[in-house]
């Protein structure tokens, strides 16, 4: 299905395809901004607080910037984004496609000779491939701000010192690896959600099961893929 969806990418750039991709980008990206902002800021705050408390014992609390920056770029940014999108967007995709299977909308598309993968999966896949790295970067920025707030208000680290330290050790590779992970997670979430949605049977109960399975499988694959990418690239 994934290969089929990528093979149909050219259809996503016709008039209807562009509109559908933009609509999916809005649904998967912009509508998730609220929850991502809250999660990212608090993730940064927790990271800064936990590392800051330990570093304070060695008068090294100024280094929380590095800890937060590298953690967010390499792992927490794409990971938290992946989990949120799997829960918010992946579940919604699985539920929507599952409902379409149950209500025979997918069968109707097939009879009209409209390829369901091209019509439904490709726009979602492209939207997620674009939005997940962007949201991951946004998560990193928000996490960094959250860490800075904790540094300034609870650990006595000035904003300037925090930012100087944050940018001192982070390298472009950290950003690139994080964005690559996010892209991979976006592909995983969409593929799993669409597969589970298309495999739905047994009516409303089946839609619930497909949604649940989509979230669980995506979570597990995100964790496993995240580990192996880190293992390969560091």
């Amino acid at each position: 299905m994934l290969a089929h969806a990528f093979a149909s990418v050219r259809f996503a750039f016709d008039k209807r395809g562009r509109r559908e991709v933009l609509s999916q980008m809005f649904t998967s990206g912009i509508k998730s901004l609220g929850v991502i902002t809250v999660v990212a800021v608090f993730t940064g705050m927790i990271l800064a607080l936990q590392t800051g408390i330990e570093l304070r014992r060695f008068n090294q609390e100024v280094n929380i910037g590095t800890a937060v920056m590298i953690s967010m770029l390499r792992e927490m940014g794409p990971f938290m984004t992946g989990l949120i999108l799997a829960a918010c967007v992946g579940s919604a995709i699985a539920a929507q496609l599952g409902t379409m299977v149950v209500s025979e909308e997918i069968a109707a598309l097939e009879i009209m000779s409209i390829d369901p993968v091209r019509f439904l999966v490709t726009p979602r896949l492209i939207a997620m491939c674009i939005m997940t790295p962007m949201l991951s970067f946004y998560t990193c920025v928000m996490g960094l701000i959250g860490g800075g707030i904790v540094g300034a208000t609870q650990l006595g680290v000035s904003w300037t010192a925090y930012m100087d330290n944050a940018t001192k050790y982070a390298v472009v590779k950290d950003l690139n690896v994080g964005l690559f992970k996010a892209l991979l997670f976006g592909i995983i979430i969409t593929t799993v959600a669409c597969h589970e949605g298309f495999s739905t049977s047994q009516g409303a109960v089946g839609v619930g099961l497909a949604t649940r399975k989509s979230v669980i499988v995506s979570f597990l694959l995100i964790l496993i893929a995240g580990y192996f990418v880190t293992r390969l690239l560091y």
């Binding site: 025979e104 909308e105 069968a107 109707a108 009879i111 009209m112 409209i114």
Partner: protein
């Protein structure tokens, strides 16, 4: 035009179709009746390869739809329109967008021509005032009529109807029956109607087949159907208060 040759199908361990053979002729309205769960919809879905037979084959013209794939299957399916039980409209598209979908996706028609054809087809099914509404904003009967408009928008040779009148009030049911009859008399379309509404089948059908226990227990014209000696047919007729020959009328002139 459509031919079933010794078709058998098992679903979840149950024999739904057991070595059935029949032929549907061009231009007729062929009704498949029977109680719920006897395989009427399964039979219909074999005609467009939404299901494939375990044994036997289904022919549409000279093409074996049961073994077709890719471009060949697409060509066969283009000859069909299919009205699903619930209409199967895409929830995020308005009625007119749903009806226009096959034209937008599968033809290179100009947008203005598409709009004209959609308006004309929606007028035909009496939905010209609901074209901007979404499927969730219209009644079940209207959804079925919108589904019918989408099924016929490309002027198919064959239209398949899966329970077109189930769950509808008698007035809307008659409206749908009229539309099916008009399709046959007006454009010579071949129709296959799956229904458990015998009144509807007797009104619009040129031939009626009754499925029971995976077999076709009767296949004949409506006038012969009500006189059938088959106990399954007699029982089915009695269940719908059609107890003697002549108590039903062809109410579509």
């Amino acid at each position: 035009m459509i031919k079933f040759e010794h078709v058998s199908k098992n679903l979840a361990g149950n024999t739904v179709l057991d070595d059935i053979s029949f032929e549907i002729k061009k231009g007729e309205t062929f009704c498949i009746v029977g109680p719920s769960g006897v395989g009427k919809s399964v039979t219909l879905k074999h005609m467009v390869r939404l299901l494939t037979p375990d044994e036997g084959q289904v022919l549409v013209g000279d093409s074996a739809v049961s073994s077709a794939a890719g471009h060949e299957l697409e060509k066969i399916r283009e000859r069909f329109g299919f009205l699903f039980q619930g209409g199967a409209l895409l929830a995020w598209l308005s009625v007119k967008e749903n009806v226009a979908l096959p034209l937008r996706e599968k033809t290179s028609m100009e947008e203005k021509d598409i709009q004209d054809r959609v308006t004309e087809t929606l007028q035909k099914v009496g939905l010209e005032n609901a074209m901007d509404k979404f499927p969730s904003e219209i009644s079940g009967g209207m959804r079925k009529r919108a589904g019918l408009a989408r099924a016929i928008i490309r002027n198919p040779e064959i239209v398949l109807y899966d329970e077109p009148t189930s769950g509808l009030d008698p007035v809307t049911s008659r409206t749908i029956d009229l539309l099916i009859e008009q399709m046959r008399t007006g454009t010579g379309v071949t129709s296959v109607v799956v229904t458990h509404d015998l009144h509807s089948a007797l009104s619009i059908g040129t031939r009626i087949a009754m499925l029971h226990g995976g077999k076709i227990v009767e296949l004949c014209a409506p006038a012969e159907f009500v006189n059938s000696q088959s106990p399954e047919v007699q029982s089915f007729l009695e269940s719908q208060f059609i107890t003697k020959a002549g108590s039903w009328e062809r109410n579509i002139k």
